[in-house]
Symmetry: C2
Subunit: 315 residues, 2 copies
């Protein structure tokens, strides 16, 4: 990958792929976008326009939406998208055979120096990159939805990924304004979904056993725990929560957390009756017809929060 | 407790108790504050003034700090503080015998209608309220530090707490601008520390086994997961993350989370060598002398975030 990647290809342009197109174009790169579905390709221009307008409304772009959009080109075949690309982001449906087939197609059509990142969250890279000839140039580059709003990107090399490629992708992600985190080896769920799963399983258990309503468990996060986590991770949080830092915190509280963990129930499937009860509670305050509007509210809130964070001193 | 509690007593005026004094006074109530330590009593006026000034700087009070401060009176004995109080908030050191002794002292001196909330996080209410004559009027009312900034309050009745008292305290907390969550029964760690513990244990394991640096695990939260959690809890998050809501989400992803949970290591003590390695990493970017300034930065960020949230549409 050249030091300043200029040509980017997007393969698969659903919500995630379209978000990536905005991320790269916003950073000044030329983006060719391909999706196998004609309907998706036809709807893409309007979708990209709306995303860029929303970012613009929150002051999250430095050019006009139209200026950014001129760098995005929608193309009709996969080879057209990837042939001259320095970096290729694959975001097709989460289906293993499809990921395998598309990765092979990309490999066939791409330039010899190109690097390919997959947006997969459900599969390890090695589960569909193992048989590629240029597997040293493939790795997982997992964003959070919507990528044009949420900065974090998980970079997960397979056992065959060239370590230099990992470093280059990390730098590239940083350069385009995302926040890359690098996993040193593969693990199911990467970091983000594992942390989310640990918290979710505990939340479900507390709800299941009747300790509190879903709304009250939610408020414990949204009006308490989650406030710090919007700008500090768990380690920095505890580092600041004892006079002499993280070591001091561990000494004071690891016994308590060990006690809590020993009471933790074995995590299993979320039981149907518990899901039903949570569904009833959620739907009692937000009918299913209200979900779309609430999602728009969430995305507006996320953009406003990102804009707020940009104005704050880094400390 | 009268419908509009007017007289509040604070027993124990360290960081937590002093924060509570600000919370009640800011909401218009008269507050008498007692701490057994003369040094703490002598330093309290300056501490309260600084807290109120900081809130004022962020637009989080509607009166001048001086006007609010006139409602706070520092007194020299426990009976002076509690004798005419409608609501008493106990925030003495986390030491079981001390909690027992102080609760008994409060009970001796308080009015017959008074309600007593303990700020304890480490003990169950029943472990030190069981032998009180008026134990129906005692319960846990656990804030997050600093209470004048973080809204959530966990209300945990003992098996003897009068349910009407629970409802009154919930309403009172709401009326003073906090966000109460009610636990239906006691559990070690309540909700907040259990959720925090679940996430922390997973973070430590990922760090321990070398998947990523502490800084990268932190960034996964502060630049990803934690952004939503600053204004939505885990249940609302998943409710919005599948087309037909939480039930749909459970159907699509509970298998994945079960798989992640099955790979989860048994949580035990955090190993010393792992703590040492995390300490070395944390101290390499922030020397121990920098912790105080960083805590000030955190508190400023929290207040700015709360002010930001107040301006956002509730959806």
């Amino acid at each position: 990958m050249p030091e300043k990647a200029k040509n980017v290809a997007i393969v698969g342009a659903g919500l995630v792929g379209a978000g990536w197109a905005v991320v790269f174009a916003r950073a000044g790169h030329k983006v060719k976008v391909y999706d196998a579905s004609e309907a998706t390709r036809l709807g893409l221009q309007a979708h990209l326009g709306a995303s860029l307008e929303a970012l613009n409304r929150h002051g999250l772009v430095t050019e006009t939406p139209a200026a950014i959009n001129t760098r995005i080109q929608i193309v009709e075949t996969l080879p057209q998208a990837v042939a001259d690309a320095d970096y290729i982001q694959e975001s097709v449906f989460e289906q293993l055979e499809l990921k395998q087939a598309v990765s092979a197609e990309i490999e066939q059509a791409m330039a010899s120096h190109a690097v390919v990142g997959s947006s997969t969250s459900g599969f390890s890279g090695s589960s569909f990159m193992a048989n590629l000839t240029r597997r040293t140039q493939f790795l997982v580059v997992h964003p959070v939805n919507p990528p044009q709003v949420i900065p974090v990107v998980e970079i997960v090399p397979t056992p065959w990924t060239n370590p230099q490629v990992v470093g280059e992708v990390r730098s590239f992600m940083q350069a385009i304004g995302q926040v890359p985190v690098v996993l040193n080896k593969e693990i199911d769920g990467f970091i983000l979904n594992r942390l989310q799963g640990a918290l979710l399983d505990e939340a479900w258990k507390l709800f299941e056993e009747g300790y509190a309503t879903a709304a009250d468990i939610d408020a414990t996060v949204s009006e308490g725990l989650g406030l710090r986590w919007a700008f500090m991770g768990p380690f920095e949080t505890i580092d600041l929560n004892a006079p002499r830092g993280i070591e001091d915190y561990a000494q004071r509280f690891s016994g308590m957390y060990q006690r809590l963990a020993s009471l933790r129930h074995e995590a299993g499937a979320w039981p149907k009756e518990t899901i039903d009860r949570a569904t009833a509670e959620c739907r009692s305050t937000l009918p299913v017809e209200g979900l779309t509007a609430r999602r728009q509210w969430r995305d507006e809130r996320l953009m406003a929060l990102i804009a707020h964070k940009k104005q704050q001193p880094k400390g």
